[in-house]
């Protein structure tokens, strides 16, 4: 035979097919099958997924089988994982990452999908409107409370007229936050100054270029910025640029304050929605997209003192102090 050399290759295909069929036959016993489809490993996202799991187990009576898949941004893996979720009879899939949800939504219109922290599901075409999703998808959004963050900035730095924002333009969510940041700045008569980085290596250089151009710097929930936060805060402190943002962890490391919410809370809210869907009490089509329900102010008194700023008297009552 001309292609006898191909026999091992064809045999391997056969072997793989047998393996896949065998593994599928084995896992037939199911109680509640809940998928977790998470775009990348990231401490914040991991915490949210964990809180989702814990709260769902509390809310539902009965055993739950969780299956987590993380494609780490690879398009071909995303497709393959999405089709696995779409075809294996999952009771619900919790999706962290807008593109993943888009891919999964193309493959199923019946399996309920709960979004964890999708910034703008309507713009992404996942739901018809925020109030009335209309399909098999609903969930929570992680829009950052930019308005309240700038309000707190005005309390501690009343003279701040130019505020910088540093972000990686290749991240979807950052784009949305930047737009909101700019419009909120304009409302308050502040000049927004954008600074973009494409990798952690550029942070130092970019910060140096901001000296004298900004009175304070906003570090949004941008994965590149957040993962290099120790470097960012060290450099910013050397250059005496006050940094504020949206979560407690970074205030501990040296940001002056943050107004944010807990991603764990989003996990909890998502779990509440998911349990209602699984128990059949509500259909995703009629469940509005929900936001975090409470905001928390954290401040770092050491940092505020080091930068010779005056701490507003009300913060001691309203906020929580935190430092390392």
């Amino acid at each position: 035979m001309k292609h006898s050399k191909w026999i091992p290759g064809i045999a391997i295909i056969g072997l793989l097919l047998t393996g896949i069929v065998f593994l599928n036959l084995n896992n037939s016993d199911k109680i509640y099958q809940v998928g977790i489809f998470q775009v990348v490993r990231h401490p914040v996202l991991d915490a949210m997924a964990e809180s989702f799991q814990n709260h769902l187990m509390e809310n539902l009576s009965g055993e739950i089988n969780f299956e987590t898949m993380v494609p780490e941004g690879d398009a071909s893996k995303t497709e393959q994982m999405a089709q696995k979720f779409a075809t294996e009879g999952y009771d619900l899939v919790f999706v962290i990452g807008t593109n993943l949800a888009q891919s999964l939504a193309k493959k199923t219109s019946t399996i309920p999908i709960v979004l964890g922290a999708a910034t703008d599901p309507e713009a992404a075409g996942l739901v018809q409107t925020w109030e009335h999703p209309g399909g098999n998808i609903t969930g929570t959004s992680d829009l950052s409370p930019v308005e309240s963050q700038l309000g707190r900035l005005a309390e501690i730095l009343p003279g701040a007229k130019r505020v910088g924002i540093i972000y990686n333009p290749s991240e979807d969510n950052s784009g949305i936050i930047v737009t909101r940041f700019k419009s909120q700045c304009e409302k308050r008569g502040i000049t927004p100054v954008t600074a973009t980085i494409s990798s952690q290596n550029e942070i130092r250089q970019t910060l140096v270029s901001l000296v004298g151009k900004v009175d304070a710097l906003y570090a949004p929930t941008d994965a590149t910025v957040q993962s290099a936060f120790p470097l960012l805060i060290k450099t910013a402190n050397e250059l005496r640029i006050p940094v504020f943002n949206c979560d407690e962890g970074t205030v501990k490391k040296g940001a002056i304050f943050s107004v944010g919410f807990d991603y764990m809370a989003l996990g909890r809210i998502s779990a509440e929605m998911a349990s209602m869907i699984i128990e059949g009490k509500h259909s995703p089509a009629n469940m509005p997209i929900r936001l975090a329900d409470q905001f928390i102010l954290f401040y770092n008194p050491n940092q505020i003192q080091q930068l010779d700023l005056d701490m507003p008297v009300t913060w001691k009552k309203e906020g929580k102090q935190t430092y390392e």
Binding site: H3, K5, W6, P8, G9, I12, I13, L16, L17, G19, I20, V21, L23, N24, L25, Q38, R41, E67, T68, M69, V70, E72, G73, D74, A75, S76, K77, T78, E79, Q80, M81, Q83, K84, T87, E88, G89, T98, N99, Q102, S103, A105, K106, K107, A123, A124, G125, P169, S170, E171, D172, G175, S198
Partner: protein, 298 residues
């Protein structure tokens, strides 16, 4: 439908789709002998450009065409960089790749675009209804057209010249040909195909993203290695068909690994280990077991 059957059919669909990418990469690294990694960024850029054209015009065909042209342009840039500045070829392709990331961001203003409903394969096959059947039949047709067309092209004068450019550049020069022109033709064809595959995937998935191409070139190279190890062939058209075999095996390996329920994040490791295992098996088969052991002991 039975979940196993559905999973396998979806895997077949993706294997057909990504074998177009594998063939594109095969043309650059094997025919032209040009290690071209630009598709890691180019794949995403083509999907973005095609997505913008599709949104603006509403035509899936114009979208696909613009994706193909964008690919040709990307190939041209790489070829010009490598020839004019005398850059090492791999560096030229990496420079193009990074420029593609910026280009996509500048063009779209954001990293990903949501696309309206519409798929070029669906327009071509109006008699089929489910996306999966359209995908399998349509992509099988694309593949079945691509192989004979490329086979015919590589047996024309230009096709032979392109192969000479890869295998024996001095001869190409001696025959009075400009190396740059043939690099542009070869890389243009290669990246054009990759761009077309990017359009097929983005219209299928409903979004175009600058990050779509991450891992694409590497997976394609792994698929080529697998195809050469497991489906050895001396003739071009069989090598092209083997590209599908390699891609299918890679996708099946991933599906198998997914079904194992490996800890997340471990998928790449497990896939790589299985691929390495196959290549070892093949080496043992070729060299013979004792000889390989002797090699290892040395």
């Amino acid at each position: 439908m039975n979940p196993i059957v559905t999973q396998l059919l979806y895997t077949l669909e993706m294997a057909l789709l990504f074998s177009v990418v594998t063939i594109g990469v095969f043309l650059s690294i094997r025919i032209l002998r040009f290690p071209d990694l630009s598709s890691e960024g180019g794949f995403g850029l083509c999907s973005i450009i095609a997505g913008i054209v599709f949104i603006k015009t509403g035509s899936t065909l114009l979208g696909a065409l613009s994706g193909f042209l964008a690919g040709i342009f990307i190939g041209t840039v790489t070829a010009v960089l490598a020839n004019s500045a005398r850059l090492p070829t791999i560096l030229a392709s990496i420079l193009t790749m990074t420029m593609c990331f910026s280009g996509g961001l500048l063009l779209a203003g954001k990293p990903s675009e949501t696309l309206p409903e519409g798929w070029i394969l669906k327009d071509m096959l109006p008699f089929l209804s489910s996306p999966l059947s359209i995908g399998i039949v349509g992509l099988a047709l694309v593949f079945a057209l691509l192989v004979p067309v490329l086979h015919a092209f590589f047996h024309t004068g230009s096709g032979y010249m392109l192969r000479i450019r890869g295998e024996n550049p001095p001869l190409c020069k001696e025959l009075g040909h400009n190396l740059l022109i043939w690099d542009i033709i070869g890389l243009g064809l290669s990246n054009g195909l990759i761009g077309f595959a990017a359009v097929l995937l983005s219209q299928r998935s409903g979004y175009a993203s600058i990050n779509m191409g991450r891992g694409v070139a590497i997976s394609a190279i792994a698929a080529i290695m697998l195809s050469e190890a497991l489906f050895p062939s001396k003739q071009l058209h069989w090598s092209l068909i083997a590209c599908f075999g390699g891609t299918l095996i890679l996708q099946l390996v991933r599906l198998l690994a997914l079904n194992f329920g490996i800890p997340d994040g471990g998928l790449d490791l497990v896939t790589s280990l299985i691929v390495i295992g196959f290549c070892w098996l093949n080496a043992i088969r070729k060299v013979g077991h004792p000889a390989l052991l002797a090699q290892i002991r040395m």
